[in-house]
Point group: C2
Chain length 242, copies 2
C-alpha cells in the first residue's frame, strides 16, 4: 500500500493511496490514533471513489462518528484504466435496452460480472487498511447503493469482517448471495425509482437472511435519496459497530 | 370536559378526563405551562387508551420531547360501554373468517364503520384539550397503528390541525381517505404481518398523497414493532411539530 498524498481540511485527513495499482482514498479524523471502526463505501455506476455523494457521507461518518472510511474505484471507473471487456458489455447492454430489452436483468448480470473482481479487491483493501495504526482491526461496516449495492451484496455475503451494511437502490441479484447475508442491514428504496423496478428492490430486501433488517422507502427517483439518509446511516453504524 | 383524577409520576402528569361521556387521558410534563405540540394517539383493536404500548410511548413523547399526549377509548373498548352493533358485526366477522373468508376486507369495512364515530369524537377532543392552558393551540400530530391506523387515516385526512402522522400495520381502506392525506407520514410495516397482507400495507403507503412519506419495514409479526420505533417517532414529530 503506497500513500500518494495527504490533505487536511475541516479536521478530516484524506489520504489517496494505491494498493497494487488499485486507486483508493482513506478518510480519518485528523490526528486519529489507534483502532476505530471502518466503513468501506462502494460508489455508484459512472461515479468514482471521490464522487460528491461519497465524499460528503464519508466526511459525515468521520466528523460525527469518528469512523475511518475507505473507498476505491470500481473497474472501469475513476482513475482506473478503461476496461475493454466491461466497456463492450456496457455498450451491448445499451443497444439491447434501446432495442426494447428490460434494463434490470442486464444490470444484474453486469454487476455480477464486476463483483467477481471487486469482492477480492475490497477484501485486500480491508487487509491493508486494517494494518494501519490509525485504523486497526476494528469492526467493519459497508455502505453502498445502486452499483454499490449490486457489488456490495456479494461482498457483504463473502466477508465476515463486515458486521453491518447500508444497501439499497438495487434489485435482486442473479448470484443468490443476498440470502447468505445475515448481518444487520439498513435498506434504502426509492418508491419512484425509474431504474430499479419497485418489486425488484422489495424482492432483494425480502431475500436478505438478516434477522435485523429494515427497509426505508420514500417518494423520489433513483438518485434522490433523502437528506436525512446520512444521519440515519450514521446512527445505524454507531449502533452496530460501536 | 371534566377531569376525574390527576396522577404524577416520573415528572409526568397523567389526567383522566371525561368529555361528554367519552373517557380519555392526557399526559403532560409535570408543571407544564403554556402552549406545546400535541400528539393524539389511537390505540389498537382490543386495547384501550392506557394500554401499555400506548402509555409507554406517551410517556416517552412527554419526557423526551415535552409534547402533550392525549388518548381516548375507541367505541366498544376500555371504559366505554359495550356496543351492541359493533359487537354483533365483530362476531359475524369472526364467523365469516372461520368459514374461510379473507380477514383483511372485513377489517377494513369494520374500521370504516367505527371511523364514522371516532373522527368527530377525536376532533372534539382536540377542541377541548387545546383550550387548556398547559396544551394550547399548537401543532398537532397523530400516532396510530393497526386499528389506530384504520381510524387514523380518515381522521388525519379530515382534520387540518394534524400536521404529521405516524401510521402503520394497516391495509388500504375502503373509504378512499388515504389519497386525501398530504401531511408528512412515517409509515410502519411488519414484513411478516400475519394480519395485514404485505401487499395491502404497501398499497396503503402507496395511496398516501403526501410528498413527504417514509415506509419503514422490518421482519416481525403484527404486534412486534421494533424497540427503536418510539425514538424514531419522537424524532419525526420533533422535526415536523417543533
Amino acid at each position: 500500500m503506497r500513500f500518494l498524498s495527504r490533505f487536511l481540511s475541516d479536521g478530516v485527513s484524506e489520504q489517496l493511496f494505491s494498493l497494487g495499482g488499485l486507486p483508493g482514498v482513506l478518510w480519518t479524523r485528523e490526528g486519529a490514533v489507534g483502532t476505530r471502526p471502518l466503513i468501506l463505501m462502494g460508489h455508484g455506476g459512472g461515479q468514482h471513489k471521490k464522487a460528491p455523494d461519497i465524499e460528503r457521507r464519508a466526511r459525515h461518518f468521520v466528523c460525527e462518528g469518528d469512523f475511518a472510511v475507505v473507498a476505491v474505484d470500481v473497474p472501469g471507473h475513476g482513475d482506473r484504466p478503461t476496461d475493454d471487456v466491461l466497456d463492450r458489455i456496457a455498450t451491448e447492454n445499451r443497444a439491447r435496452v434501446d432495442a426494447g430489452e428490460d434494463l434490470a436483468p442486464l444490470v444484474a448480470g453486469f454487476q455480477a460480472l464486476v463483483a467477481r473482481r471487486t469482492v477480492p479487491e475490497w477484501r485486500a483493501v480491508l487487509d491493508a487498511v486494517q494494518r494501519l495504526d490509525h485504523v486497526g482491526a476494528g469492526p467493519v461496516g459497508y455502505w453502498g447503493v445502486s452499483l454499490g449495492c449490486g457489488l456490495g451484496v456479494p461482498f457483504v455475503a463473502a466477508e465476515p469482517r463486515v458486521r453491518a451494511a447500508v444497501l439499497g437502490l438495487g434489485g435482486l441479484l442473479v448470484d443468490g448471495t443476498a440470502s447468505r447475508i445475515t448481518v444487520p442491514v439498513d435498506f434504502r428504496l426509492q418508491w419512484d425509482d425509474e431504474r430499479v423496478p419497485r418489486a425488484d428492490g422489495l424482492a432483494l430486501f425480502d431475500a436478505l437472511a438478516s434477522a435485523d433488517k429494515t427497509l426505508h422507502a420514500g417518494p423520489g427517483r433513483h438518485a434522490d435519496l433523502p437528506e436525512l439518509e446520512p444521519a440515519d446511516s450514521l446512527r445505524f453504524f454507531a449502533r452496530h459497530l460501536r
